[in-house]
């Protein structure tokens, strides 16, 4: 029952992604062609407001609902995994028109082929796990 709030927040997230058309392949094309402000506005305003929220959390020492201090896990200070992995992800993003969040909302919208996108996303993740020690990070 503790999980119900995550279900409700996920429903909210799915509605926002659909109604703002973040799930649309065409919106991702607009973004990669620099022909509309829409996606930049969404990500940009989420980040600017997010940065304010994170600063408030840090400066007030806000606690989460379990009473623990809220920490954002730091990322390793390396280079290659971000630029190379990021570029591979970007290629997939432009092809499918969907990053992982939208793949799930698209299935809910009845675009069934995105079940296959998810399945191969899981397979790609598995492949990373298998060869990760051979990759630069």
């Amino acid at each position: 029952m503790k999980l119900i709030k995550y279900l409700l927040l996920g429903i909210f997230f799915g509605i926002v992604l659909t109604k703002s058309e973040v799930i649309s392949w065409y919106r991702i094309q607009e973004m990669f062609r620099f022909q509309s402000f829409h996606m930049y506005g969404i990500i940009g305003s989420a980040v600017v407001l997010g940065a304010v929220v994170v600063q408030i959390i840090k400066r007030t020492g806000m606690k989460d609902t379990m009473g623990e201090s809220i920490d954002l896990p730091p990322k390793d200070k390396v280079f290659w995994r971000y630029i190379l992995g990021g570029s591979i992800f970007g290629m997939g993003w432009a092809l499918t028109g969907a990053c992982p969040g939208p793949t799930f909302a698209l299935v809910g919208n009845g675009y069934w082929l995105f079940l296959l996108v998810i399945a191969f996303g899981v397979l790609g993740t598995y492949f990373y796990g298998v060869i990760k020690d051979k990759l630069p990070h």
């Binding site: 509309s36 506005g41 092809l95 799930f104 990760k132």
Partner: protein, 186 residues
């Protein structure tokens, strides 16, 4: 009232609502990041038996699986009850896409690529199978996707996330501007 929810939600509404998701997950002691679910699914399917990377207690990530189940349901609710009609894509994009033979209709995605009936065409295999694989492989190598890096990481002013987002654009621009004309003609 409900009419106001139809049509496209503008960026200055959608962006802050995504920050609400970011904040509530932090407040509940979690971190926003959707691609972690792909790894959790590997673990659920038993990948942890043969590979340490997937050998973790996937049940601790149940909240995130429930979250994306919700995202699926949210997609259905929006589709059924808050219809969009024509998506107002920029005219320049419509012209560019039509010039390379991609149709722009009422749907969220081009149905000449993502229709279930197109399943066994080479074009669809490239966009769906290869595309999906690259998303899964790349996001794990980079340690996160749009939610984990672009939203959470940039909000936390983390340099690694900025590098990852630059990577997202290197890959995306390469496919969009160099490869797409050939791939849609397959």
């Amino acid at each position: 009232m409900i009419d106001a929810l139809n049509g496209t939600w503008p960026w200055y509404i959608a962006g802050p609502l995504i920050t609400v998701v970011l904040f509530l997950l932090l407040y509940w002691g979690k971190t926003f990041g959707v691609s972690g679910n792909y790894r959790t699914m590997c673990s659920m399917l038993g990948a942890g038996k043969s590979n340490k990377f997937f050998d973790f207690d996937w049940k601790s990530e149940k909240w995130n699986l429930v979250f994306i189940l919700g995202a699926m349901i949210g997609g259905w609710i929006a589709h059924e009850f808050l219809p969009s009609g024509q998506i107002p894509i920029s005219e320049a994009t419509v012209a560019d896409l039509q010039a390379i033979g991609v149709s722009v209709g009422q749907e969220m995605v081009p149905m000449d690529i993502f229709d279930v009936n197109q399943l066994f065409t080479l074009k669809t295999i490239v966009f769906v199978v290869v595309g999906g694989f690259l998303v899964g492989f790349g996001t794990r190598w980079a340690g996160g996707c749009t939610s984990g890096h672009a939203i959470t990481g940039l909000s936390n002013l983390q340099l690694p996330s900025l590098i990852a987002v630059i990577g997202f654009f290197i890959g995306g621009l390469l496919v969009t501007h160099l490869l797409l004309p050939y791939l849609v003609a397959l």
